[in-house]
Amino acid sequence: MPAASLSPPLPLWVRVPAAAGIALVLLPLLAMTLQVDWARFPALIGSEASRAALALSLRTAAASTVLCVLLGVPMAAVLARSPRRGTGLLRGLVLIPLVLPPVVSGLALLSVVGRQGLLGAGLEVLGVRIAFTTAAVVLAQTFVALPFLVLSLEGALRAADTGYEQAAATLGAGPTRVLLGVTLPLVAPSLLAGVVLSFARALGEFGATITVAGSLQGTTRTLPLEIYLQREADPDAAIALSFLLILVAAAVIALVRRRGVR
């Protein structure tokens, strides 16, 4: 939109609740910043354990986000476009990881890939172990983050004007080209929102991870787990690490937005 074209102004009163909301979010963050022990900050976040946790968190959250996109986009498309009544139930089921306390999600995952789990026993025979490995971290993060992507995208797909897709089809575009070249670009802002949400959720994931993956430095101890541990040992370090987590998330979100938004 060129600067000259005016979208209708928002009513002035919305500024009041918007400001309240912003204050609700920003005040605690500000207060937290005040509590960071800045003198010790570099030392606190520079320890080997912190660096290992940060590296692991970035790697696993990135991997989980990729998995969420690869699995979640098709899921959202199928759910949004299936005409059948039956998908209503499916849609509800897919959202369940949203409400489960993460620890319960972890238990549920363990009951699949754990030693006594549905698949765990079979996998064990094949010499494959998922639980308590980095793969388990990715699994846990993907499980909890996937619904975020699916839900943000599905609403947008449902609302999107199918006229453009029909136009593309009459131009000879096959279903794949329509999906990748028309449908997804049309819902790009929601897809981006979904990616950011699921990345953020994966990055902050704690309960399911500690349950399925344990907490081994360098292998499964992500930044939130490290923060949890530090809280027991050195609350200042926990605050400093939380701050680091915020910085990382902000940087990644800024990067994605910069590239993704027109």
């Binding site: 639980a131 308590f132 980095t134 344990g214 907490s215 081994l216 949890y228 027991e232 040992a233 609350p235």
Partner: protein, 238 residues
């Protein structure tokens, strides 16, 4: 495929990895114990996994690659033993007693256990379902105290947090927690709190990949050297 499970890491000729699962509250002494062990056993790396005791129990039941398990209470350990996941009877290697923690300056002027029954006092305890809460309940029964907390926390760390932040005017925590808090809380001593003792058991895990190292580590923990490290963090002798 499995990325770095303990059993895989043990396939090297010399290099062995000992995996110790320990309750989160044991983080500091066990980190030190692990370093000591590595010094004494070159070629062995000790990996530590800290979590709530019941998390650890669940993980071991699901085949987590642990060689040694140390929990913060005997109830959880008994469950692991019952499930047949330990290789030997657990040993009590440390004890801990409750004490009263108050915010710096003791704003509510708590002087003794009896003051905790004051109805206007914002008292915080652990929930009776978790070890520190069980201990608090036992203490209340033993001392015939009628405690009405404003919150029954999930873990002793949460109790400590409430006291540190001043939200709570008093809380029952372990001696070790007060030491951990490093001045963020004050302790109000009352000899009566010694009536209830919490015990920390340790045991080798049934499917241990490194049973020899597990035994050696257990030995270190219960040795005078190990006990010294534990004592420095406020843990009592078994």
């Amino acid at each position: 495929s499995a990325t770095g499970g303990g059993s895989d890491a043990g396939t090297g000729e010399e290099e062995t990895t000992l995996t110790v699962f320990a309750a989160a509250s044991l983080q500091e002494p066990f980190t030190e114990l692990a370093e000591r062990y590595e010094d004494e056993h070159p070629g062995t790396t000790v990996r530590l996994s800290f979590a709530g005791s019941s998390d650890l129990a669940t993980q071991i039941a699901q085949g987590a690659p642990a060689d040694v398990l140390a929990t913060a209470d005997t109830v959880t350990m008994d469950r692991v033993v019952e499930a047949g996941d330990t290789a030997a009877e657990p040993t009590i290697f440390a004890t801990n007693t409750l004490t009263i923690a108050v915010p710096p300056g003791n704003p509510a002027r708590v002087a003794s256990l009896a003051d905790l029954t004051e109805p206007a006092l914002d008292l915080v305890l652990c929930a009776p379902q978790v070890p520190c809460g069980r201990a608090a309940a036992d203490l209340a029964t033993a001392e015939a105290l009628d405690l009405s907390p404003v919150s029954e926390e999930q873990s002793v760390t949460d109790v400590l947090g409430k006291v540190e932040s001043g939200e709570a005017e008093a809380g029952l925590v372990y001696e070790t927690d007060v030491i951990r808090a490093d001045g963020a809380v004050e302790e109000v001593e009352d000899p009566a709190t010694g009536a209830v003792v919490n015990e920390y058991p340790i045991a080798p895990v049934a499917d241990a990949a490194e049973p020899d190292d597990a035994a050696a580590f257990l030995e270190l923990v219960t040795s005078p050297e190990g006990q010294e490290i534990l004592a420095a963090q406020g843990f009592g002798a078994p």
